[in-house]
Every structure is written in structure tokens, then in C-alpha cells.
């Protein structure tokens, strides 16, 4: 039986974390293929609806990677991402979604190695947690009678 391969979506900001992912690529160091990237200009563009959409479409884990506090190319976009992430994390908590499926990390353009480590750690964690989308609710059966 093929082991569970999680699907992870990463939201990466153009100036720091995406650059780090390119640097990691340049080093040709392998990392899990489960990680799929959506590029945005700033982690400040990331909002709860985007993360929820990723989970809703089948992601088992989501990463938001931005610039270190104080280094944001647009001054403070990463702080805004941090606040929105905190709100969403708390809601996901209350929905019973396990800690560790949604992460926020700061990765600078020079930290290609850190990027790989973050991806590996997240993939391992989500793999251990298992698929997010289990059949939680039994399926509806057909209507008892068709009166017409």
C-alpha cells in the first residue's frame, strides 16, 4: 500500500521566502515534492480565505513564509500576516484541526537551507498527522421514497 503523501501548499513572498526557495533550488538539494508554491509579492497579501481555500481544495498542510520582522520589503506586511495567522490558527484549533498543519515561518532570501528544513519538517509532521480530509460524516442515503 502506498504510504500517505501529504499535499502541502506554501504561500511565499517574492522578496524573501520565494528567493530562498530559488536559492535552495540553485543548490540542487532535494526536498519533498509534496510542497507546492503560490507566489505573492508580500506575506501581507495572505489572508484567512486563501488558507481556507487551500485546505478546502485538498491541502493537508499550509505554510505561510515571509520576511523576518523588520525586514519586510514593504515595511510591515509580515506583521499583518502574523496577526491574521493568529486569528485563523485559533479558529482552526477550535475546529479540531491539529496544531502543525498551518505554520508561519520567517525565511530570508539568504536562508535557502532554512527553507528546506522548514519544508522537510512540515512534510514530516503532516505525514505523521495523516490526511486532513477523512470521511468525517457518513454519506446520505437515497430518499426513502420518491413520492412523484
Amino acid at each position: 500500500m502506498k504510504s500517505f503523501q501529504p499535499r502541502i501548499v506554501g504561500f511565499l513572498c517574492n522578496w524573501c521566502s520565494y528567493a530562498a526557495s530559488d536559492a535552495a533550488g540553485g543548490k540542487k538539494q532535494p526536498y519533498p515534492a509534496n510542497f507546492r508554491v503560490v507566489r505573492v509579492m508580500c506575506s501581507g497579501r495572505i489572508e484567512p480565505q486563501l488558507v481556507l481555500k487551500a485546505f478546502a481544495e485538498g491541502a493537508d498542510g499550509v505554510a505561510i513564509l515571509g520576511c523576518h520582522p523588520g525586514d519586510c520589503h514593504y515595511k510591515e506586511g509580515n506583521y499583518k500576516a502574523l496577526r491574521r495567522f493568529a486569528a485563523l490558527k485559533r479558529m482552526l484549533d477550535q475546529l479540531g484541526i491539529e496544531e502543525g498543519r498551518l505554520i508561519l515561518e520567517w525565511v530570508s532570501a539568504a536562508e535557502g537551507d532554512k527553507f528546506i528544513e522548514v519544508v522537510r519538517t512540515l512534510c514530516d509532521k503532516v505525514k505523521a498527522l495523516g490526511p486532513l480530509h477523512v470521511a468525517r460524516v457518513a454519506q446520505d442515503r437515497e430518499p426513502r421514497r420518491n413520492r412523484l
Binding site: 489572508e47 484567512p48 486569528a87 475546529l95 454519506q139 426513502r144
Partner: protein, 321 residues
């Protein structure tokens, strides 16, 4: 010949029916203009009266309530066949409404709670109703309870939505006027203005640009004056993520908006939208303080998806407990 219309209620509290009555004198104009052939709450009409109609013979079918049972789904589908236009009336039909909150649980636990575990149960031996019961006089049946609450749009194509819990008289009046004049927006539209509630809220002039709050408060925990913005005091108001058209009655009555008209953009996830607005306005940089603030917000999903859970991304992705 007057156009034929039908009214039906699915999983409903009756408030949307009352909203029609709330048209007061204008209801007479409606009654004069149309021929109501089916309205279970107000008239002694039968399903057979609908079955008897030709497909498309009904000009409009107004359906309120969420779809929780197989009977509701059947009749919704029946009315869809018989009507040219189907209008979903109220939050329940539009987004699932309050009944939609049941989707935090499954059918099994709901029935068990209601019929076996609830503290107010008087029966020594609690009985859960069954779909079929044989009696000496014949077999009695009850509709089947679906596993989850659905929106009307989940089971049939809906032409227009009248939002609100219930839709306010002005919303209904404007919609009926548009219907009768034939000047309708594109199919699938929500018949209410797109701007969010803040636009008409009397407290908007005093809404600050940032929220200097360190915790979320419930309505009874803090005094909020008639001109003060609830969010500025830490009380959750869904206004920013809610479509306008209701006249901001709750705000005038010193209660925060609960979001019953749904999100301004019908495709949005209302809860995600509100969370983003709220988090963005809080002026904090310390990760611990931010966490602490959101930890003080009890029941986030129930609050931000109060009327819209079945319409949410959380529902779509089955991200429910």
C-alpha cells in the same frame, strides 16, 4: 391572468413567512397582483396542488428555510420544475442560516443529544423517533434527516437570493418591485446592495482606524454607547463582512451585527473575511499578545459563521469536527 406564485418553508422558524406579513398594507398589493397557489403556513393547500401544475406554470416560487430533510429537498426540486423563477428567501435558504450551525455535529450525535441526553428529558426511557412506525391503523412515516444541513442552492438552481434573518421589509419590497417590473440583475444575484454594513451604520463616524483592544469581549461585558463602534470596544460585530440593505436595525437597537445578510461578495467566505478585517485592524506586533487576544475569542467559528456555515470554505473542505 395573474401570475401564479408559491411559498414554501423548509427547515425554518417561520420568521421569513412573518417577514412577508410585515409588508403590512403592501401585502394587499401583492395579493392583488398575483395568484398564490401554494402557501402551507397560511393556506390550506396540498402538495398535490403543486404536482398538478404544468412545468414552468408558476411564475415564482419563494422558498425559505435550510434543507435538512428529504421531504424538503423533494419539494424544493418539485417547485424548481414547476417554477420559472425560484427565489431563496432568508439566510437559511441562502446560506444555511442558524440551522446550519448543526453542521458542527453529525446526525447521530444530534439525534442522540435531542432525544436521549438533553437534561430536560422527562421520559424514564427516552425514545428516538424512527422513520417508520407501524401502528394498528397503518404505517406512519417521518421525513429522513440528512447528515448535514444544506443550502437551497445545494439541491436546486436558485435564481435570486433575498438575504436576511429575516429579510427586512424594504429588502422584500424592493425585490418584489424589481420582479414585477422585470428589471432584475443577473441570475444568481443576491437582491440587496453590495456595500458592507459599515456604510450605513450610525457608528461609522466614530469607528477608529485601528482597534486598540487586547481582548475580545461579549456584549454583556462592556458598556457600548449608541455612537460607539462595537469593534472598538472589543465586541465582535460582523458588519464589515456583511452585505447592507437591512437598515442597520440591530445597530440602532444597540446590538452588534451578526451577519445575517451574508458576505458582500456572495462567493466569499464570510468568516474568513471578518477575521481578516479584525486581525488587520488590531495594532499589535508582539506575537504573544496577539495570541492571547485571539485566545480570548471563544467560539470563533460559531460567531463568524453564525448564518453562513454551510456556505463557507470550512464546509466545502469538510474542516468540521
Amino acid at each position: 391572468m395573474k401570475p401564479k406564485v408559491a411559498f414554501y418553508w423548509c427547515s425554518s422558524c417561520g420568521g421569513c413567512e412573518e417577514a412577508i406579513i410585515d409588508l403590512n398594507e403592501d401585502i394587499l398589493k401583492v395579493v392583488e397582483a398575483v395568484d398564490i397557489v401554494f402557501w402551507p403556513v397560511a393556506m390550506d393547500t396540498k402538495y398535490a396542488d403543486v404536482e398538478r401544475l404544468a412545468d414552468g406554470e408558476l411564475a415564482v416560487a419563494f422558498i425559505n428555510g435550510a434543507v435538512r430533510m428529504d421531504e424538503q429537498e423533494e419539494i424544493a426540486k418539485l417547485l424548481r420544475r414547476k417554477a420559472q423563477v425560484v427565489i431563496a428567501v432568508g439566510s437559511c435558504a441562502h446560506m444555511g442560516g442558524i440551522p446550519g450551525l448543526a453542521n458542527f455535529f453529525d446526525r447521530e450525535s444530534i439525534l442522540r443529544r435531542a432525544y436521549q441526553e438533553v437534561p430536560s428529558l422527562a421520559d424514564a426511557q427516552p425514545v428516538t423517533p424512527s422513520e417508520t412506525t407501524r401502528t394498528e391503523h397503518g404505517t406512519l412515516t417521518l421525513p429522513r434527516f440528512w447528515e448535514r444541513v444544506k443550502r437551497l442552492g445545494d439541491v436546486i438552481d436558485v435564481d435570486y437570493f433575498l438575504p436576511g434573518c429575516p429579510p427586512m421589509p424594504d429588502t422584500i419590497r424592493d425585490a418584489l418591485a424589481a420582479l414585477l417590473s422585470g428589471k432584475l440583475p443577473p441570475k444568481g444575484s443576491v437582491l440587496s446592495p453590495s456595500k458592507n454594513l459599515c456604510h450605513g451604520c450610525p457608528r461609522l463616524p466614530n469607528k477608529p482606524e485601528t482597534l486598540a483592544i487586547d481582548r475580545i469581549r461579549r456584549i454583556h461585558e462592556v458598556e457600548v454607547g449608541p455612537d460607539e463602534c462595537f469593534l472598538a470596544k472589543g465586541v465582535i460585530c460582523i458588519g464589515p463582512a456583511t452585505r447592507s440593505g437591512c437598515g442597520e436595525r440591530c445597530l440602532h437597537a444597540n446590538m452588534p451585527c451578526r451577519g445575517c445578510y451574508g458576505p458582500s461578495d456572495d462567493k466569499s467566505d464570510q468568516g474568513g473575511a471578518l477575521l481578516s478585517s479584525l486581525a488587520s485592524m488590531i495594532d499589535m506586533k508582539d506575537a504573544d499578545k496577539i495570541d492571547s487576544l485571539f485566545k480570548s475569542f471563544a467560539d470563533i467559528p460559531g460567531t463568524v459563521y453564525r448564518f453562513s456555515l454551510p456556505a463557507s470554505l470550512v464546509q466545502k473542505g469538510n474542516l468540521l469536527p
